[in-house]
Point group: C3
Chain length 349, copies 3
């Protein structure tokens, strides 16, 4: 009860403060950026709760679909504003950052902190194996355009990107069909036991709309401070997108996964981290390519070598660690070590 | 019986038509190319039957060896004619296409179509693990010359290629020794239950010689229409070699593997797809390097980056999917998605 | 008893001869190089025995730590002399050679020779899985600086190298903590059953100091003949470092691992080969970066593409072969084939 009140105060307070900072222009860019980051964590949390509540009323199947597709709604909305402003490099950096943040930081902290409490933690290998193949697919489809781009014109590159985007979205929808309809029982692993939802059906829908709008507004404010902020600190857009934006945008996944790991539900923790990065790669990234068409300046799906190295490396080490069905604290260290080295490398570039 | 007659008519008809098209020069290149493709499917099928029949009389051990080495005889013969004409780029493209065609298209269709009939299909993990290591070896040996070629002269590159070729052939022969002699029982998995062979021993040998000659002649005709055809349609040689030639050359594997998958013999289906691509990489490719010596214009074993990316990607995703011993329809989708993306990328380059 | 005397004579004889060759300057560089190689095998063997003996008296935990960190003391000392002379290319080549020598040559010979005696050999998969993840980490951390180095200045490259080095040493120490303290029981697998140590506690310590000094002196002599020798035979420093130095420096691991494989202790053989290469990558390489600071000419941790390809390839094939918990002779052939192809490629470059 107290916790819920604290959340409400944090949400309204940070959002109001952020609005004030944005419209008054009185605060320094650093303060404004910091406030925006805090506010985005709160509004993303609000959107998460509203989605869950609507999903509860929507029934099992549609609810699962809603949860799955709205899970990264905040990242998607932030990215749409970046695409609108033509900041393609930051968009791709933040996609990269979301993937490696989930696979290395979220998973690493979960395995480490869970492993400090339990000597050995177990999970369903079958699910991990399926997710591993999907992650590989995601990496592969991001690598192929980059490998061929040197021999293509800009127009051809975009056409290839569009084709890849459509194929990925179809593959993602088929994956939902597979995991929620045809092979539901085998793989399903309850992630959170919901009690009664906090709100009535009607209120949930109102809140879902409200939360989405707040995320949208807040994302625009955040993006508007980005350039000034990164300039002032001499940070590359790559670093800001891949580390700052990504960590802020994934705050909800972090806390949820770590909490589950500490309760010895390692399977569910892995499911959140891996599932979220899969969704980014197979759904958010291609949707952004298609959306860019409507803004009149098409964005291709070609990532830089640094980004591909980072994503490839993250997938390989996460796959290797999750394939034997058990985790120990040291495997968390390994994931965090790779994240740290990537972080310093991105910072330096 | 009806089926056998239909095959006989198709074989003789398409071959005669193809001969007419070739020598008269009356038909347009497109029609000529189409007829050649149909005819090559039939003569390759004939060669397959003759090989099996001879193998039956040759006894288990020698027969297995014959089946294994003649399995890709059609591809080998087509490629020899390409090597003779100095069309090295198409040779390598068709090797690439054979490998990815088997691992992605044949395997993908088998897993998808088998999976639509059976909810879950199982196979012997041990065999898959061995094949996986061999596939890795094949990829690795194709990558190494490409990685080093930038610092070598043409002569050194060919020497390295020759050395790699000899080592690969030795490795392949040792693999036959391993899988057919020293560790036969554990791994063997009967792919087809043969009834009585259709022909007498003498007739089988005659037919083997006849079929080989027909494949040789037909291959030469096909190759002679290739350049005109690809020019006319504005297709790159890479695309023609890697997709058209490869699909035609592997038609037999396609039908056999899919049939087995539909009968719930997924292990045998995988064995055909993976075994065929292994043979291409570890036996056909090195043999072509050695054969090129006799034509006076040595061909090296260095593949382009695109080809290496395609092969690497195909092996990684096929290995990932086959390593847990079960398949579902969705894994077939994944394989086909990667094949589709590679196809469009090769088409665009 | 006889064996021990033969070793003593070999040690003193080769060391004296090597000293004579070095100081007299009478012998040709080839003879001098050959003598140095023989002598280094003997002094490295002496250092190994002394370490074991001291470890015996130091108690289980400290002893394990000593064995683990002194296991590659000879390589480390040779490398330090190379760093002192600024021969960074040979240092990195010898690190590469040590890693691939252990993973391909030592492991390959063990699996092949063990497999010729026993049809199938088994080992603990869990340990292999842990080691596999660590090997991946090692490869990844060597790849990251190389991927980013194109966009960095020399100073930044060294800073990144230093950062990576410190992180790797911390990760290595945490690995010792994990495998020797928090998760000891599960993973431990006694490698050698020691009888009574040959020497008293005091003598062991004296011998450890003496052996270390002899290795140091002998390494300096070996390094001093290197350049003349490789020049005379037209060998690249890459080849000399990666193959000659590495084979000589790992002679002890070779004999120990093969002996264990022939006694059907495949787990222990793998442990030696993989453990040694892990130590090189995660401990020796970063320590050398830090040591280079004290010599006033900082060495970065950026490897050439050839070296990275070699290391990556070795790790991938070794990981693939060791992940199913059984080995056959043919898997040894695969490892040796990759080693052979890398060898010829390095020789040619």
């Amino acid at each position: 009860m107290v916790k819920r009140h604290a959340f409400k105060i944090g949400l309204i307070g940070s959002f109001t403060l952020s609005a004030f900072a944005h419209y008054s222009g009185l605060l320094s860019p650093i303060v404004q950026f910091a406030i925006s980051c805090v506010a985005i964590v709160f509004v993303a949390g609000f959107l998460g709760k509203a989605t869950e509540s609507v999903a509860h009323y929507a029934g099992e199947r549609l609810g699962g679909f809603l949860n799955a597709t709205f899970g990264n709604a905040a990242e998607l909305i932030i990215a749409i504003f970046l695409v609108k402003d033509g900041l393609f490099d930051i968009v791709k950096a933040s996609i990269t950052g979301s993937i490696i943040g989930n696979l290395l930081l979220v998973l690493g902290l979960s395995v480490l902190l869970g492993g400090l409490r339990f000597k050995e933690q177990h999970f369903n290998v079958k699910l991990a194996s399926h997710n591993g193949s999907l992650m590989l697919l995601a990496v592969i489809t991001l690598f192929i355009p980059a490998a061929f781009v040197g021999s293509l014109t800009d127009g051809e590159t975009f056409n290839l990107s569009l084709f890849v985007a459509v194929i990925l979205i179809v593959a993602y929808l088929l994956w939902l069909l597979f995991s929620m309809v045809t092979h539901k029982k085998e793989l399903s692993d309850p992630i959170v036991e919901h009690g009664e939802p906090a709100w009535s059906k009607r209120l949930s829908i109102v809140f879902l709309i409200l939360a989405t709008s707040m995320v949208a507004v807040q994302s625009e404010w955040l993006v508007s401070t980005l350039e000034v902020f990164s300039h002032q600190f001499g940070l590359s857009e790559l670093f800001v997108g891949a580390f700052l934006i990504a960590i802020v945008g994934n705050a909800a996944e972090h806390s949820a996964a770590i909490l589950l790991a500490r309760r010895n539900k390692m399977g569910a923790a892995i499911e959140i981290a891996v599932g979220s990065s899969l969704q980014i790669a197979l759904f958010v990234a291609p949707v952004l390519v298609i959306i860019s068409l409507f803004f009149g300046h098409p964005m291709n799906i070609v990532f830089t070598t640094f980004e591909l190295v980072a994503i490839g490396v993250a997938v390989i080490i996460a796959k290797s660690i999750s394939q034997d069905g058990t985790t120990h604290w040291y495997e968390g260290v390994l994931l965090l070590v790779v994240y740290g080295i990537l972080g310093i490398a991105f910072y330096m570039v």
